[in-house]
Symmetry: none
Subunit: 488 residues, 2 copies
């Protein structure tokens, strides 16, 4: 390894860190390759050993390398790294109340629902909620430090109202992040920051007008379905196959808007391939009033294959409204979502909605901006990706004995898997049996836009098994119990 | 082009900018017309070329002119200009835009708009904005301390999503505060916490339904007017006398909702007496679908007489939707508002809107909760009341010499006074004369729901004079200057 260190300017450890990171990204250092020991690299470069330690520490944090006790440092596999570049966005939430409606089986995409834990989760040994996230990896220390610094610097500016679309610095940071991680092309001017997707959809309602027929997949993210229903919208559910929504149906259904999650559909986990994406975009390009709402709710956690760019990245006609959030990637409490408006809608927003003030405080915007801009977000994502991958693999492994009776899908990304029964057992029977054994699983029908959908009733029983917030031993224990009731 | 530049006061580039902007708005410079080159204009005006560059840059930024490479600067088409209102980074704040509509006189109720200061305020020696608040008295130290403690205690709970209506502790604290300070009777269960009134009104739209005819006073809080217009609502403006809205007109106008500010109407400062309140409540009680939205936007700052309880305090039939916010009493950045729903609407909310998640982060909710619960809020209010009372009395005192030519009203509460000319001078003349003296005042017409309202056009000129953010010496200097131009 040759590193040319330069005096002055960038700190030494950073030069070392940058050099190695770039070598790995460029594929010059390959997965599994061993790095020189910190001692030998320090000697070679004639720097203090602590300098190299620091650089390696950073690389470890960001997931570029891993440490093997007594053996040294090794380069991580390349696919993982590609995902790292992305960082991300998003997510949503669902609501306790839905549990009630759907006989305790429906819970919606997105965020942790702490109130659940106390009520439903409390009585379960293991709750395979697809919506909880693991907060144990959250860098509280960093968040506190940033908050403290921001409040220390506090000129009263931060306590005054900011721009309606959100502070320029944050929008710039988000646009950069979106470009590098999701391939999204946008100016900061196109971004509207808001306190949650619900609020942004409320604004969108005003932009898209009142007479909207909107298409959604089914099953889908039920919260969004309900929000559209609370508008004057006519919601049409269209069939989905293993590639996602069937674009051919859109013309027939006379819809003007489409809501979809091309990178990782909830709850099916389907990734929409490029061909289907182009069909969608073509459909949209055919009408001036046609738009696609892309909800990129949890693109950050992907375990296999290359990162999937956003649909917006392929949009050449200003037809995609990109929706993102930090609820899943950081924490549900970070009530910051954003949308990227295509030009035509941006103009309308500025003409007709300019007086709606931003719903996120400037202090929160500043904290988030620093968190992303200074690299903490990327590091956090890398750490979480490792944590979730380990849980994901454990769950897959534990589910092996189930493969005779169940098909496992959705295994490339996200924080949940789907188990579909091969036999004639009913969804409710699975859920009830699990509950009797102290385990909570979630029926796919809880994500059905129309719960009385006849076709679905006939479909094989499918349950969602989330692992985000579970500890390894909880996963093992939960599966052990499920074996006893499902595999008898 | 003839521009008369004045030494002192407004900066040169701004005079040039203002002049050209006004010529374009007035239609004296037409779309497509070429402006003189910066070089020739600079020579002609005998100013540095950079001064003209700066002025043109501003005009470009705001979309009044466009640059054509190698050809020069051209006036943009006027229709585009109409659309641009509200667009452009600078024009974002609802406020600036209104300035344009109303010839620089309109600024909206409620919150401070810091971005203005840089643009408009910067050129004024004294800006009597009715919307700015004094942040110098804000207990940053306490806020920081509470934030730090909360983050230190941080169990990850605070980073997870809370209840849709807002955390119970905060709702309890708010309900207690409302009861003791405003006479509002409510359970914490009736409170919905949200990130700003705009958001809460968006939820209300769903609760009140689509076919709403809503009555507002005129002049009124224009932001709310615009929000209702952005709904499907039919907005009816009804006459107001010195007691506020005339309840008798409501029946005739066939409205189902009323928006009002009984404790301190913006901008008139009118306090609705109990007789009129009862008329309003009686009107509401006559129809199951009738509701009164009470916006209690700045009830905290009252200098004479007893505190005025909220209208909600007299509501025996569940007809008042109480809206409150901490933007004015704490800081605009504290994006926490709340509404108190009467039982019938609460039921509907829980049935139909339960899935909308809270837009305020739990951390912010916790900070605010402690701030109020531990008495800091009350202390802060007491301190601010003293600070504002001193400014208020100073302004009243300074305005004494004006009493021959002007009537002063709105002197019991709030952060602004109204000056109504006894003669035939026009509002615009007052504003222009003040501006020439480096003083910014705000015309009442800037709060008119219908700017073309004929009756109002005939009404005597009235300007708003806010004092919230001004220092004592600024008030004195501003009034000294106004004397010179208004009392000659």
């Amino acid at each position: 390894m040759t590193i040319r260190l330069q005096a002055g300017g960038v700190r030494l450890y950073e030069q070392i860190y940058e050099h190695i990171k770039n070598e790995i990204r460029a594929g010059k250092l390959l997965a599994g390759e061993r790095l020189p020991s910190t001692r030998s690299l320090a000697e070679y470069l004639q720097v203090a050993r602590s300098t190299v330690d620091y650089a390696y520490g950073q690389l470890l944090d960001e997931g570029y390398i891993e440490a093997s006790p007594c053996r040294g440092y090794f380069v991580c596999p390349i696919e993982e790294l590609m995902q790292l570049e992305g960082a991300g966005e998003k997510a949503f939430s669902g609501v306790r109340t839905e549990d009630k409606e759907n006989g305790g089986v429906g819970k919606q995409a997105g965020e942790a629902e702490p109130s659940d834990q106390g009520v439903d989760g409390g009585s379960f040994v293991c709750d395979f909620s697809p919506h909880e996230i693991d907060m144990s990896g959250f860098p509280f220390g960093v968040w506190k430090k940033i908050t403290k610094n921001i409040l220390t610097d506090a000129n009263s500016d931060l306590f005054s109202r900011g721009e309606p679309q959100g502070d320029k610095e944050l929008r710039l940071t988000i646009s950069r992040y979106l470009h590098s991680s999701r391939g999204v092309n946008c100016h900061p001017e196109q971004i509207v920051v808001g306190a949650g997707n619900d609020y942004l959809l409320l604004l969108l309602e005003k932009l898209l007008g009142r007479q909207v027929r909107i298409a959604m997949e089914n099953p889908t993210y039920l919260r969004s379905f309900r929000i559209f229903k609370s508008f004057s919208y006519q919601v049409v559910t269209v069939d989905a196959d293993e590639n996602g929504m069937r674009a051919g149906q859109l013309e027939k259904e006379k819809v003007t808007a489409v809501y979809c999650m091309p990178s990782h559909q909830f709850p099916s986990g389907t990734v929409m391939p490029i061909g289907r994406r182009i069909e969608l975009l073509r459909w949209a390009a055919k009408g001036a009033d046609r738009y696609i709402i892309e909800d990129d709710y949890d693109s950050e956690f992907r375990y296999h294959g290359k990162p999937i760019p956003a649909l917006q990245a392929n949009d050449e006609h200003g037809k995609v409204i990109y929706l993102g959030s930090f609820s899943k990637a950081i924490a549900p409490a970070i009530r910051v979502s954003f949308m990227v408006l295509p030009e035509a809608l941006l103009e309308k927003y500025r003409r007709e909605l300019f007086f709606y003030s931003c719903t996120v405080s400037r202090i929160d915007q500043s904290i988030l901006n620093e968190f992303i801009r200074d690299g903490y977000f990327e590091r956090h994502l890398n750490r979480m990706r490792k944590i979730y991958r380990a849980k994901h693999e454990l769950l897959l492994e534990e589910l092996r004995p189930f493969k005779e009776k169940f098909a496992v899908t959705g295994e490339n990304a996200g924080l949940h898997l789907l188990l579909t029964a091969k036999g004639t057992v009913k969804e409710e029977e699975l859920i009830t049996a699990a509950a009797a054994a102290g385990v909570k699983v979630y029926g796919l029908s809880g994500s059905m836009a129309e719960t009385l959908d006849q076709k679905r009733k006939a479909a094989p029983a499918t349950v969602l098994m989330g692992f985000g917030a579970l500890k390894h031993e909880q996963i093992r224990e939960g599966i052990r119990r499920l074996k006893e009731v499902w595999l008898v």
